[in-house]
Symmetry: D3
């Protein structure tokens, strides 16, 4: 492990997905998934998100489109919250999901819109 | 927007998925997803389903196979109901999903059969 | 192996994909892929296509949509020929691929149209 | 149907997924899905799993990787249990899912780890 | 068809993919694929790309990520050229494909990098 | 970058895919794809393949199944060679691809068998 890349990853992951969420993920990790948590933090968040060249806002845009197509609703909802944190507006999120519908098909778009509305409803309750 | 294509789409969508469902979708639409609802109605249901060349029954057959493979259970259940409305029998639906299992793999088939049985159970309750 | 199902499969496969193609597949099979050739003939073509409940034309329709989405151009081209053999018209094939574009995205449709045009061009040369 | 292949399939399926589970699947089958249950038992479990050349442990390894990528959580959970029955350790399951994350992307890995932890928690309750 | 949306689509498509490419597509269209060409021009390029809310550069970013994952090399190469036209730098394209590798798996990234290098080599020849 | 993980990765990658292939990849890398080559070497081959818990033979088995399903023929052919290097027999490769056909559908199996036969034919020529 590259300690510095890991620390960078932990910081970015906490800033994008929320400190509480990341601390819970780390605290609840057991022998089974701890190596994976550490790998994701270093590889995805440190060595990936930590690179220059794209802004966090741009990385969030890509993630919303990619995770919609990859059909992973649990992760998509996390990254919709992260996208708002990174400064995307609801109007931009709508445009991204309409482009998903055109390039990956209407059902992918329908699911993405439903999940976004669930996230917005949860946030409105707070 | 092409008003006539939109109207055709709204009519077909209501006839296939049910008037109540479509009215609810439209009524509950907000600033965020209204442009998408309108786009889907015009593009998918008007410019797509509104074309001649395939019967509604044939379009439903294609959709059951496609949406099973695309792995979108929420949409699949809607279109299983739509397929019954469009005149497909349970026996034909079984044959479609068996062909899905062969061409897209057994797990895709297993999920499609489970979702169909849930739809049939819901309809039997009424 | 169920001999009768295998024989049924061999017959249907030859009628749909062409006797020459199937004989070549079988003749060129070696120790490595012969068990797979037999498996596909028995289960996909015998136990699958051999079932009642859908016409060959309907099974071809499903296959064109499914194999486009599964993104397997080599198989798609074979089944476009098979679809013509089974009585689908070019107009029906167009409608199927337009529905693919709507439900699985524009790039899936673009590829399907290109492959169909290649098949039609090859057939026109003969 | 090849009776012997079917019987082999029924035996292997029961040993891997559990006698109770398979008996319930068979007993609850109705006119709609019975032909599919029989097909899966013969084709997937008899003609597939019944082949020599790979151990059950190896087939379970493949299935965990494949079903994670195919994104079928219901089936994945069944096969995580089956993998434990077939002798895979939790450490091996972790390694498989880390390899899934690298080759099929982090969100596929995240979902696989979550589902495995749910299965382990259910088993710990008993 | 909404004539104005179609004209907008034709203009944007030509500006992004190149006038020559689009004119050839349209001229070579026959009875089989002409309705599809018009459909894509109106809905994908007019009703989709023609919307405000995202810049062309941002839409290109999304497309590079999406089409890599959708695994459509022919379309990907077209849109890599389009992305350069829309102002993305090679460095930004690299960052997008590295993020694809993390979220959709290393093989998706490897293919995207190979296709981009092919496009760059073709452009360098001119 | 963790230098030690990178070196481990470079060694494993060379042993599995061939020293010549890896040296060519590294030598031909330019500003555009060098960061990706290094990233893949460190994370996929060092931090991934370098982990204990699965043998190289087992990791090759997983890769053949996964890359077939991910539909990346170029990578699949590389990993079929790697699998032979890691000690898998042709009979085991056949069994893996038959299981792919069952779980991911017949067309995925057909493509995998065709690509394996191309690799075997290339190797036989030497």
């Amino acid at each position: 492990m590259d300690k510095q890349t890991y620390e960078t990853g932990l910081k970015i992951r906490s800033e994008v997905l929320g400190k509480e969420y990341v601390e819970n993920s780390m605290k609840s990790a057991d022998d089974f998934n701890k190596p994976f948590q550490e790998f994701v933090t270093e590889y995805c968040w440190g060595a990936g998100w930590g690179r220059p060249g794209l802004s966090r806002k741009e990385r969030s845009m890509l993630n919303l489109a990619m995770i919609s197509i990859l059909n992973r609703p649990h992760e998509l909802k996390l990254h919709i919250r992260g996208a708002l944190t990174n400064g995307l507006t609801k109007d931009q999120i709508r445009e991204i999901f309409m482009q998903v519908a055109i390039y990956a098909g209407v059902p992918a778009g329908v699911d993405a819109f439903r999940q976004a509305r669930e996230v917005f409803a949860e946030l409105a309750k707070k």
